[in-house]
């Protein structure tokens, strides 16, 4: 997984509440069993004029020339709600987004971000609104910094906004760690748990093998 330490970049405000994963990547845009080939379908329902089409809607923020090269999204409350599809995060990543700043996130989306190198930053809505207003005055120059090492967002005017992130999530993002590798370091604990639990709850483990068709 790609490491994240600090990023200064163009940020795009998309402040509406409850942006769901269907809006981030519509079902119809997930055309193959794959984690890639999704960037084109990102926000497709808003980004293009017609369903399934590719004619850009000039009103949508990511289509505006001033927001070219956006790598940070400023979002509204309950960002990433709805379907658990990780494709939403894969699409954001492939598009170039490396951090999403929002007042709150859906729990599944939040976890998916951390496992794919996108920093989910929680800041109060009024602080995000202030940052967005600064960005909007001239997006290409009014850049936002997400500093994960110091757990800070630096607004275009230089003001610093501290955010909280779980220690393990922070470490995984900073180091680009693979969670499976990390967990397999605890293999002895897992084995010990299973020995104990098989005695306590044998019915959990005594399932018939799959019928081979």
């Amino acid at each position: 997984m790609e490491k994240f330490t600090k990023l200064r970049a163009v940020a795009a405000p998309l402040l509406r509440a409850n942006i769901d994963t269907d809006a981030i990547i519509p079902s119809r845009e997930m055309k193959a069993v794959s984690k890639t080939g999704l960037a084109d379908g990102l926000f497709a329902g808003w980004r293009y004029r017609t369903i399934g089409g590719r004619d850009p809607n000039p009103d949508f923020v990511l289509n505006q020339p001033a927001y070219a090269g956006t790598r940070i999204l400023l979002g509204g409350e309950n960002f990433g709600c709805g379907s658990s599809r990780e494709h939403a995060v894969w699409a954001l990543f492939e598009f170039g987004i490396r951090a999403v700043v929002a007042p709150s996130f859906s729990p599944i989306f939040y976890g998916n971000c951390i496992r794919n190198g996108i920093v989910p930053v929680r800041l109060p809505a009024d602080q995000i609104a202030t940052i967005a207003a600064q960005v909007e005055s001239d997006p290409p120059t009014q850049r936002v910094t997400v500093d994960l090492e110091r757990s800070l967002v630096v607004a275009p005017d230089g003001s610093e906004h501290a955010f909280e992130i779980e220690p393990e999530a922070r470490e995984m993002l900073l180091e680009g760690l693979d969670a499976i590798d990390l967990t397999l370091r605890s293999r002895a604990a897992i084995d010990a748990f299973l020995v104990r639990d098989r005695r306590l709850r044998p019915w959990i483990y005594e399932l018939p093998r799959a019928r081979t068709p």
Partner: protein, 467 residues
């Protein structure tokens, strides 16, 4: 002093991790062809194995067609590849597969309880947000992403940050015509679609004790629409009766030992929750959504609220009204509809179909209304047909389908169409959820049936009184 959730948590801690997280043992993993296929494929590409395939299950529910005589062909563009690849990956890894033509096929959250896969006291994960449904059985069951599913498959564990706890007590007795679906819409409209964010929500109280298992599943189903980590209901005799003899449930002595252990799975009388709410259910009425978030819900006899009373921001409110083609003060019961849908992991079980059929019997769907009923599993379908319910639905003018998610969501295949107004027993009324620009109103199966007959949004209690 301990809550039910804390008991479940402590029984599954393999190791403590820094920052209040823990490595949690996972008892059951469920996959489906839409999001599970990618997890199995990616696991194989990374050279890892499924650690205990006997505890992993997979169904074909999301993309599979629901038309009679279906096979691997599906109306969703590219959909067949998902089915074929999932089948190959499932066979290769030796997990249980409920394939397109399997007699136990159905929607994951319908068949898991039905087959006794989810049990009280288990941890269950699935790369699907409505996994919270299964918390109704007294399990810690929650939706995850595909990468986490890979982790669970490869290690039998997940790294989880411990959620906070909330309890909602439902006290009193539900009036006739008011259902678990109305309870969940009442909760979300009262405390908002982010109201449960960060919490495991235990549903408790006298009204929950008297709910049948299928209704409890409906209630827990929409915990994710409340943004909760999951919903949870303490298991009781109803739960044990429901599970006894199911295909994957323990049998004989093992069953007795399991039930003895499950009886301890309840919050202690002095348990402390981070947040507690209470709802008196006596006065609740059937609910229906007017907007594009599940929190945009009012009584079926009500009207679209003003901005001030909607609980939404101005932008969200105006956007929702424009999308739905409504304005403040519009009385919902007057709105003509184009379609009616009964199905989904929320409301597609036998009891749902029975209650809808009771209203449809001897009546006809209004002219011009497209009406569809999709049983949640093949077992539900067989049981319904044994009672003759399919004849009631088809005589009324409903299509009667094979089981699956069907038009609960739009994936480029079948859709209700632009600006079509649909009353639906599903769980999400997001923009374009059931088709491009389709206008979804979520309600109970009773309200869907009554509305289908009236050709406009209708209060099922009035129809019941006539009957």
């Amino acid at each position: 002093m301990t809550t039910l959730f804390e008991k479940l948590w402590m029984q599954h801690v393999v190791a403590e991790l820094p920052g209040g997280a823990a490595l949690i043992a996972i008892d059951r993993i469920f996959l489906h062809e839409r999001t599970g296929s990618i997890a199995l494929k990616s696991l194989r590409e990374r050279g890892r194995m499924v650690v205990d395939p006997a505890r992993v299950f997979c169904t074909m529910d999301h993309i599979v067609d629901t038309f009679p005589g279906r096979g691997d062909a599906t109306r969703m563009p590219g959909g067949t590849a998902f089915i074929v690849e999932t089948r190959a990956a499932a066979r290769e890894s030796g997990i249980h597969l409920f394939d397109v033509r399997d007699s136990d096929q159905g929607i994951v959250h319908v068949i898991s309880p039905e087959l006794g896969i989810v049990l009280p006291g288990t941890t269950v994960v699935c790369p699907d947000s409505h996994t919270c449904t299964q918390g109704a059985m007294g399990a810690f069951a929650w939706g995850i992403g595909s990468t986490e599913a890979e982790h669970a498959l490869a290690t039998g564990t997940l790294r989880v940050t411990r959620p906070r706890t909330m309890r909602i007590r439902f006290e009193g007795k539900l009036a006739p015509g008011v259902t678990a679906k109305d309870l969940s819409l009442a909760v979300i409209s009262r405390w908002g679609s982010a109201g449960g964010n960060g919490y495991v929500v235990e549903y408790a109280g006298s009204a929950i004790r008297s709910l049948e298992i299928e209704a409890r599943l409906t209630l827990c189903n929409m915990a994710t629409e409340f943004s909760a980590v999951t919903g949870l209901i303490a298991p009781d005799d109803r739960t044990f009766e429901y599970l006894a003899g199911r295909r994957f449930a323990p049998k004989g002595e093992r069953w007795d030992a399991a039930v003895a252990a499950w009886r301890k799975l309840r919050s202690d009388d002095d348990a402390q929750f981070d947040v507690e709410y209470r709802i008196d259910v006596d006065d609740l009425a059937p609910m229906i959504t007017w907007g594009t978030s599940p929190q945009h819900a009012v009584e079926v006899t009500g009207a679209v609220p003003t901005l001030e009373r909607s609980g939404a921001t101005r932008e969200a409110y105006e956007r929702a009204l424009a999308y739905m083609g409504l304005s403040a003060g519009t009385v919902l019961a007057d709105l003509p509809i184009d379609a009616a849908f009964i199905g989904s992991c929320t409301n597609s079980r036998l009891s749902d179909l029975r209650r809808a059929a009771a209203l449809l019997r001897g009546r006809k769907v209004a002219r011009g209304v497209k009406a569809i009923c999709v049983p949640g599993s093949m077992a539900v379908k067989r049981a319904a047909e044994a009672e003759g319910l399919h004849e009631v639905f088809t005589a009324a003018g409903f299509e009667w389908r094979e089981s699956g998610c069907s038009m609960c969501f739009y994936a480029g295949g079948e859709s209700f169409g632009r600006r079509q107004r649909v009353v639906s027993s599903t769980n999400r009324n997001f923009e374009s959820r059931q088709g491009p620009e389709t206008r979804t109103h979520i309600a109970s199966p009773e309200t869907v049936a009554a509305s289908a007959i009236a050709g406009r949004i209708a209060d099922p209690r009035r129809l019941a009184a006539l009957h």
